[in-house]
Structures are given as C-alpha cells and as structure tokens.
Symmetry: C2
Subunit: 426 residues, 2 copies
C-alpha cells in the first residue's frame, strides 16, 4: 500500500477526471458502493482466486469464549470484508437498487479494491479499478458501446491507437468440444490454454498431457495449433474469424463478433462514410483469449495498446451472475480498465491553463497584508503558495518549480497590490 | 454504509471537484494515504473516543492455536485497521515522507473514514472527511490561511455567508485556572463546558457539581456565567474578546486571535481598502468553544453557516502531535469541513453547460448506424444515452429527465446523420 505525494496525487486526479468525464459523455452513470461488503457475499464463489486474497474485518464485540470457539471455524471471527473487485459489489448494488435504475443500466465505478497479494513490483494491496458495465441489454450493441467508450477514453488521455482483442466463451467451448475434450475437463484445459502467450504452443500441449487431458483431444488440438496461420492475429471480419478457427464454427456467434467490430468501426470513424471499412477496425479476433474469471458466458475482450506488451484492461459478458443476487436473470457485460497501469503511461503535464504563483514574502509583512495579496492573486485565477523568503531564494524557487509552480512574485511590508510583479519561474 | 445512486453520486463528485479546485488554488497540495494503517498507530491514544469505534482487520494466517491464544488478548487477532480520521494518517504520512515535502507543507485530504457508530439518522459508518492542514508554520498566519481557504470554498459551493467561531485552548486553560479549577480536573471540566449549548448554564453548573469539581471554582464559574453579557456572541476585536473573558486575559493569546480575524478580513475584502474594518470580519469569538479532541494546544475553531444550526466543520492547532510520530516537534494546525453535511446543503444543479441527449432508437436500427449516431453526438460535446423506443415514450423521456438528461432525438433505420433533430426535453 502506497502514500501518494502531491505530484503523483495530482496526476491521478487529472486522469480520473478525464475518465469520469468521458464515460459520463458516453451515457454511463457513476455509482459508489461501501468499501465493505458482507463476508458471505464476498465468499460466494464469484470472485474466484481473489476471494482468498480478501481482507476480512474483525467482528466487533467478540468475547473470550467466542474467540476460543472460532478456533474451529475462523469465519466466525469476521462478518465484513473489503471488496477485492467491483463486480461483486455491482451485482449486489443492482439487486438492492434495481427499482430506481433505468431498464438498461450503464454503470461506471472508479474506486479502490484490496487484495492481500504478496508484495512484488507493480502489484499493490490497494489499487483503483475502473469498471464500466451494462446491465439489461442482451444484444452485442452493449459490447460495442463499452469498447467505443473505452477507446475514446484512452484517446482523451493521449493514448491513441488502442485496440481490443476479442473472443467468445461459446466459441472456446465449441472449439474444445470439436477437439474432443470432455465437459468436465474443459475448465482445466482453458487454464492451460490461457498460458499460450507465456508457454508457447509446445508448452501448452505438454502441460495438457501432464494434466492427463484426453489424449486424442490433445492430439487434435496440437495438429490445429501447428496449422501455419493459427497463431497470427488476423484482421477483423467473417472470413478472418473463420480462418482462425476449426471448420464449422457456429454462425450466430461469429456474426455477433463481426457485428461488434463493425459497430465499433462505424462509431470510431470520424466520417460515417467509412462505415464497414475493415482496415479501420480496432478489434482483433484471438481464438485463444480465455480471461481468467469463471463467470463469463459470452464475449470476452482485452484492451491492448502499442506502447506496452501487457493488457490495459479487459472484460466480457456474464449473463448468469447478476441473477445469483437478484433471483432473476439479467444480462450483463463489463469492461474494466487498469487504472494503475494507465496512470503510469500518461505523461506528466503541467496545467498551462492555470498559472501557479509562489508568493515569496519577507518575514515582517503583516499577516493581513500578506493574505490580502494572496487572495487577490487567487481571485485572478491563480493557484498560490506562500513561502517565507530564505537566504537561498534560488533553491526555494527550484523546489516550487518541481512542485508544478510556474511563476513567482516577491513582496515586502507595505507593498501596494499594484506593485506586485508576477514573473515566470525558471 | 450507503450506496450512492447516479444522481447523488454526480452531486458528490461536483462538490468534490469544487473543493479540490479551491483548496488547490489556495496552495494546498492533495495527498492520499492507504485506508488501512497499523493497528498500534491507530490505537496510540491520539484518536480519542474514535479509537474504540475503529474497524480492525483480521490478521491473515492465524491458525487454531493462535486464535485460542487470542482469547486472552484479542488485539493479537488484528494487525491493521481502517482509519477513523485523517489526522492520524497525516501525522504518519508526514513522518514517512517529510524529506520530499516543502518546509511549510499545506496538505488537503479528501477521503473516506470508517467508524462503527450505532446507526442513527445522519450518522454513517463510512463517510468522507475533507481536511486541510498546515505543518511547519507556528504563526497565526497559518490559521488565517485555513479560514480564508475554507470560507472561499464555501462561497464557491454557493454557501456564502459562512463564519468561524474561534477560541484558544490556552485561554480556556487560563480561564479555568483563574476560577480555581485544578490542573487534573480541567479535562473533565472542559467536557462538561462543551455541553453549554445543549445543557444551558444551569445544566453545566449542575453537572460540574455532580462531577465533584472544586466547589469554590464552580461558584466562581457560575457567577461569571451569570454576568449578563457572557453568553452573547460579541463582534470581533480586542475589546470584545476581553469583555467576554474574566479580567486579565493573557495579552499574547488575545493579540493572536485579533490578528487572525484581521488577516481573514483583509483577505476576504474584495477591495484592500477595507482592511481592518471590524464589521466585515467573519470570525466570532466564543470563550466556551472547547472542541472534543485532546490534542489541541492553541487556537480552535468551528465553521458556522446561517442556513443550519449545527457546525459544518472545525479544527485547531495541535503542535505536539506530529512530534509523536516524527520524533521532533513540528507545529501543525488543521481545519476539517463536514463533507456529508455540506453535500446535503448544496442544491441540485443540472449542468447546463453540457447538453445531455437521450437517443431513442427503433429496435431495428443496425448497431453500426446507431453507434455512429451516438459517437457523432458525443463528439459534438453531448452526454448521450441510448434508449430503445418503448410503447410509452413519454414515460421513457420523463425517466431520462429525472436522470438529468436535457434533450432527446429519435432515430430509425437508415437515417442520415443530418436528419437527426435534437429537441429539448420537457
């Protein structure tokens, strides 16, 4: 867990403001839930491996007897926990507040989550997630809206050129079935396939054999992987999707993916005339994209950017999950961008529009005079910091410049407001 | 703990943005600390009664034996806790990061805190605090800067007319001493005096007698309370402060308070010429203002606004506290505004500058066309929500208007972008 010092905190808030504004423009409504949820809800199996990483809150009012009894059942020590993602809270929020929400609810959540990860570079125990979700729309229009809003937000942050890798859990399931993997072994097989980028085709095949997966199915998968084109990323469209899959892929799912890509391209084109131009589609089909969470039921996607090799976010459709809290089905699809990774990519910018003035004053300027001078500069639209003059004025001004101040003025006792001259720093 | 639905969340974010921008203009640097701090730090006696209300986090990896052993020492069950205020984290932050901060550090923190309060109206277990603090400035200029920045922020929120009740712990101590209360009984006497608004003078005197406070001192205090002018709020200035106190108040403390009031008045005056005009000083001396926390050492203040009887915030000087974490003294003074109370006072505003359009579409508009229409409106600066046309268009539009949308357009399949007419809602 980290402290954020002024420069970094200011950068985070600038990025947050852009994300907030862009998602709002795309019709997403921001909501907020408490950081603590009930223990049972956080440990209902939806959170996958993250459930084990949850911070649990000590139940209040435990006496010695209750503590002793909890030795056999440690869950009796806790009744609340810190959320480890924003999806479980969203499902709970929707079930609680559905009557006050529109039929198609577009939600944005920008908030910290907590996981007791082993400390390692780039992993934090408290970090901000930024999720958009559409609940109540079963059509692929929802996927397209999420992708367009996300790419537009990246653009607004100066990260143009983003694209989305896309796949569909139904295609994965169909493909595994066509190779001959049994229903029961498919979840394990997917975990291995998800390592394709890391292990390569041979490593994946070896791990599948180690796992004891059906031998004939692994053979079929291996020969498919050895097809010369299989591992390349194909430009987006019906023919390309089919070329990347075994023969006979289900028409309806392929058509949905093509529709999403074309809708994204139409929305992203500056001129509507470009609609359908396949060269402009910032969507890439990846038949081996898996995504870890067990709750996905349809499309899955990951956000890529040319400046980095890792994913900047991802999501998918999870039509079954809201129903577990709500008691009736509600289609849902979400896209989460990796706020911490994006903040690291967004370059420092000094906010040129708002001048920032260091007002260096002699020790003996009366407080009333000094604060009147400061107030006058604030009223003119400046950000103003008071600094008492030190022997080393140069060091003082350098320090202020490092903190983002762009100008300075000096003032002694009895100075007229008009006599104060603001000079640029550095 | 509460869910925030879209309209309320949007209002909170608008208020936060104004607070953030105003405090930044006044030279305060925003920082952020993790929501969890070490248990020992949260329970070092600084947090007063709030320590008892802390949510503690279950230590990870406890086995049955460790749990059984903890029956005799429940603190062994926990190593972290959720912060119950922003002052303890600030002191820890300053001790950790001092080398990277300016000599006079003006901090703003806007963040949630948690207290396991008994549920009651207007009290929440998770709520946002908004603190500004100045560390490293021992002069009353720091107090004046805090007050000016806070009143300016209230103005920017449309809450003009705020004022600050002010007192000084040194005056309280001197006054109790002059009545004859012993050093040991003074903390308890202050707790009772703090109830003056609620109990009235007679109730306070009765409680002091019940408490077993020194009889002669209570008599002296009672006869002082019965002076006809004592309970009135006096306009601010040296004479008025002295009239509200027993004779012989210490000159240096009174002069500091007068200086703070005059500096605030000078900064708040639109024209510097008004400097020193006592009629304009938004500061009121209150000899019986106590403030609950034990760590205050000098000035204490509370924020008042004519629209409400309760306080909107408060603070004071706590020169000894940072030193407990830092190992060397650092003067400090802080002002906390009650974000939850202020949000309730700020009227709903629709954001007239940014048009919000509901795009009502027929079911059969192709996704690509629809998303291109939406994108075109977003590019023009609108916030846009898609809604599929329902039989009851009127209800759909009313619902959207309630969510803050100000305009609508309808679109069927094959519509040209130019043909889409945006009409005002309602």
């Amino acid at each position: 867990m980290r402290d954020f010092l002024p420069a970094e905190k200011a950068r985070r808030e600038r990025v947050l403001a852009v994300i907030r504004e862009r998602y709002r423009a795309h019709g997403f409504d921001e909501i907020e839930t408490p950081v603590m949820e009930e223990y049972a809800r956080l440990h209902a199996g939806i959170g996958g491996d993250n459930e084990k990483l949850a911070y649990n809150v000590l139940r209040r009012g435990l006496d010695a007897e209750a503590i002793r009894a909890a030795a056999d059942d440690p869950t009796a020590l806790t009744d609340l926990g810190l959320r480890y993602d924003l999806t479980v809270p969203l499902a709970r929020f929707y079930a609680t507040n559905r009557g006050q929400l529109p039929a198609v609810f577009r939600a944005v959540q920008i908030a910290p989550v907590w996981r007791a990860e082993r400390p390692q570079k780039g992993r934090y125990r408290q970090f901000v997630q930024c999720d958009i979700d559409i609940i109540g729309d079963p059509t692929p229009r929802a996927e397209a809206e999420l992708v367009v809003a996300t790419l537009d937000t990246l653009d607004a942050l100066g990260l143009e050129g983003g694209s989305v890798r896309i796949n569909d859990r139904r295609l994965l399931d169909w493909m595994l079935d066509s190779f001959g993997f049994g229903v029961d072994e498919r979840p394990g097989v997917l975990i291995t396939i998800d390592k394709l980028d890391k292990l390569g085709p041979e490593g994946v095949v070896a791990e599948l054999r180690d796992r004891g997966a059906d031998t004939a199915a692994v053979d079929a998968f291996e020969s498919f992987l050895r097809r010369p084109t299989t591992l390349e990323h194909h430009p987006f469209g019906d023919r390309q999707i089919r070329k990347a899959l075994p023969d006979g892929a289900p028409d309806d799912v392929v058509a949905e993916l093509v529709g999403i890509g074309q809708a994204v391209a139409a929305a992203r084109a500056a001129e509507p005339a470009a609609l359908g131009d396949p060269g402009d589609i910032p969507v890439v089909f990846d038949p081996f994209l898996v995504r870890g969470m067990g709750y996905y039921t349809g499309t899955i996607f990951e956000l890529a950017h040319p400046s980095v090799e890792y994913s900047l976010g991802g999501g998918g459709r999870y039509d079954g999950m809201i129903g577990r809290f709500l008691g009736q089905d509600a289609p849902a699809v979400g896209f989460s961008i990796g706020f911490e990774r994006i903040v690291d990519l967004v370059a420092e910018r000094t906010d040129a529009a708002a001048p920032a003035v260091v007002l260096v004053h002699d020790r003996d300027v009366p407080e009333g005079e000094l604060l009147a001078h400061k107030a006058a500069l604030v009223r003119q639209g400046s950000r103003v910091r008071l600094e008492q003059r030190t022997k080393n004025l140069k060091a003082l001004l350098e320090r202020a410049a490092a903190d983002g101040y762009t100008a300075f003025a000096t003032v002694g006792p009895g100075a007229a407001a008009e006599a104060i001259e603001v000079k640029p720093l550095g």
